[in-house]
Symmetry: C2
Subunit: 418 residues, 2 copies
């Protein structure tokens, strides 16, 4: 069954790769309209998923991720309309050169081909990924969460209707309408028909894909993020950055997990951090280096660190605290405990900033800014498919361009190699 989907996707991808920008954009706008008009049907299907989810005992947090409502559908509709306005990366020429022998050479962006996207409960990802695929001329095979079958069926139905209405193959976006986990395994082996696997979910999903895939996998999304407050930092300015990095949206991968503070300022600064972030419900894990600076008696928001607390992505209002002797120790700690996602320094010392930039090898390295900026939209990429923490093809926010590859084009006058 999956081989048939793979073949159909490959065929569709060839047609989509040649589709004009205008046609792809029109499809996105049609889909936005359909979604807007058919929202009652989508919400009904989603209601069914939610009901079944409740019956089978899903947590309220999962139910919330699974649930669509008018506001969320409005968001999807406006995202699709925005996507239609973004520049099309396909066809872009770059690295143009003429070789000494007169051969003209350039690279030309082309779609990756067929994307395999494996994700968990959120049905909005279905529309999101469908839109990004269409825009970038890729076909996609989607494997959503087993608890969202009815929602995905309704949404993919609209996507396919919009494709066909614009003369594009329905098979551009297919989804695996089957709860059997064996299908994920099958998908990961379809290397003849699928060019890239993008898992969107937790660490276990990424690990499963890496271990079982015969197709290149973009792993990522796991961020144990650090900020180091250097001795020279403007502490009044640093505090809001830390507050923002930790509290603005604690459930996401670019939220702050570990605060490293230079010993010279720890006595002054750590109590301010406890006070400022504590007001917004942050609790702290202080190790033996930080504990002496949290005040006496130890505030109720502070616990001593457990053995895993510097290797945990909190995804909640918890912050690990460590006091370090200086830049070297901060860099070493990040190298050992980080996930190479987003790490920053707060400093007024240019030499330290330069060393931090060079020596911390994370997907995004910050100087005097919140880690929360690691995001395709924030970086001006227009959209975001995933955040990569692996090193090949793309690192950090993966936008439209990162869903393409290139071909070399060489044009000569009957050139032969000497």
């Amino acid at each position: 069954m999956l081989i048939e989907m793979g073949r159909a996707a490959r065929t569709a991808s060839k047609q989509l790769a040649l589709a004009a920008t205008e046609k792809k954009n029109r499809t996105l706008l049609t889909l936005a309209d359909y979604l807007d008009e058919a929202r009652a049907d989508v919400l009904a299907a989603n209601g069914q998923d939610v009901e079944e989810g409740r019956k089978s005992g899903l947590s309220e947090a999962l139910i919330d991720r699974l649930m669509l409502n008018d506001k969320r559908i409005d968001g999807l509709v406006s995202d699709l309309r925005h996507l239609a306005e973004l520049p099309d990366p396909v066809g872009e020429r770059y690295d143009e050169t003429v070789l000494p022998n007169g051969l003209s050479l350039h690279k030309q962006r082309v779609p990756l081909g067929v994307l395999g996207v494996i994700y968990e409960s959120r049905p909005n990802v279905t529309v999101d990924v469908a839109g990004l695929s269409i825009k970038t001329g890729n076909a996609a095979i989607l494997r959503g969460g087993s608890e969202t079958l009815a929602s995905n069926r309704a949404l993919v139905g609209l996507v396919q209707k919009a494709l066909v209405a614009n003369g594009l193959p329905a098979e551009t976006v297919q989804f695996i309408d089957d709860r059997d986990r064996a299908r994920v395994h099958e998908l990961l082996k379809l290397h003849e028909y699928v060019d890239i696997i993008i898992p969107r979910g937790g660490a276990k999903l990424h690990q499963f894909c890496r271990e079982n895939s015969q197709i290149p996998v973009i792993t990522g999304g796991i961020g144990i993020c650090h900020l180091f407050v250097d001795q020279s930092a403007d502490l009044d300015a640093a505090l809001p950055v830390i507050h923002n990095a930790k509290t603005q949206r604690p459930s996401v991968c670019n939220a702050l997990d570990v605060l490293l503070v230079h010993r010279a300022i720890a006595g002054d600064f750590l109590p301010r951090v406890l006070d400022d972030l504590g007001k917004d419900g942050v609790t702290f894990r202080a190790d033996e280096t930080a504990m002496p600076f949290v005040g006496e008696p130890v505030p109720s928001s502070v616990q001593p660190t457990g053995p895993e607390d510097f290797d945990t992505e909190w995804v909640s209002l918890v912050l690990s605290l460590k006091v370090v002797e200086g830049l070297d120790e901060a860099i070493a700690h990040i190298g050992t405990h980080g996930t190479a996602h987003s790490d920053g320094i707060l400093t007024e010392d240019d030499a330290n900033a330069a060393r931090f930039i060079n020596e911390v090898d994370s997907a995004v390295v910050y100087v005097n800014a919140s880690t929360r900026f690691t995001d395709g939209g924030q970086f001006g990429l227009g959209a975001e498919v995933a955040i990569s923490t692996q090193r090949l093809h793309t690192r950090g926010p993966m936008g439209l361009r990162e869903l393409t590859t290139y071909k070399w084009v060489a044009q000569g006058e009957y050139h032969v190699r000497a």
Copy 2:
């Protein structure tokens, strides 16, 4: 054992990533000198491998690939000196921008980390890859052919001596000094310590790596290459291009395998091809579309095609022939039977050239040029590690830059996300 190597490589890679360009270049020049001076030892070790190879019944072709001599060592020495002169990709800044909120953003090239390179008999690859790794700030774990252990031991000994002499860790370049094939399997699972697997060898090696690796694999090197002679081509000019693509070095992946000829000119042109290439020993496989045009009686150099002859990389002086009705059929044939390596059109018709460029999705698409140009050196990349026919990270010739990745650097003034 391999885990230890992996750990040591990771540690070395961190030091190498920060090494100054001048230090890396000095190491390359030292290695060139050592290799030049110690050639007697290297040749003696290689002689041992050759002797053992002969005893164990290796074919003369394999013995030739395995054998080093003064001329080959001269080549390695001069390649290393040339490599030292090339620009260092590491540290290059690009895609610089200032976001509307004032955050400065750029990408900065950094080494990939640790390369795992698996190759077959040729010991020159050992020096080649060692040099490229050092230049690009990567550590490497090499797994050479089991028939070249003594040569590789001698060569890696020199590499490590050159590293240490320049204050770089010996573990920058390690090789698996063990004939057991289980080690290859182990290497492919070392995803914590190895960032990319580069197989250099035949289709089976690539398949084995793809199926067993938990690390991204750059597959490639298999080229079923096509040229399509359009009706409008300048036939006098086209003939030397075909001759060059087929005969200049038939044993390599960018050599021509299949010639597609437009029916309108087949009667005139195919006999000229048979004559011109036949003089240099090329033999032909003509299918039922081409057979009517090869003349009567059928020349002895022409055989009817077998069922696999359009799906075979010849790696020898054989050329498959097919007559097509026009551009559509040529593009469709390449899409079905090609390996997306190097394919070209010979034409004077700009519209056909443009369609061929857009619709043939190969790593390198040619207009009026020999497929033999697909090569890092020819493309001005300075060097070449491999030719990729997969779609992620790099396509076509993989040079120094393609052995790097990037980090994003974001610099603000205590910026917070709104």
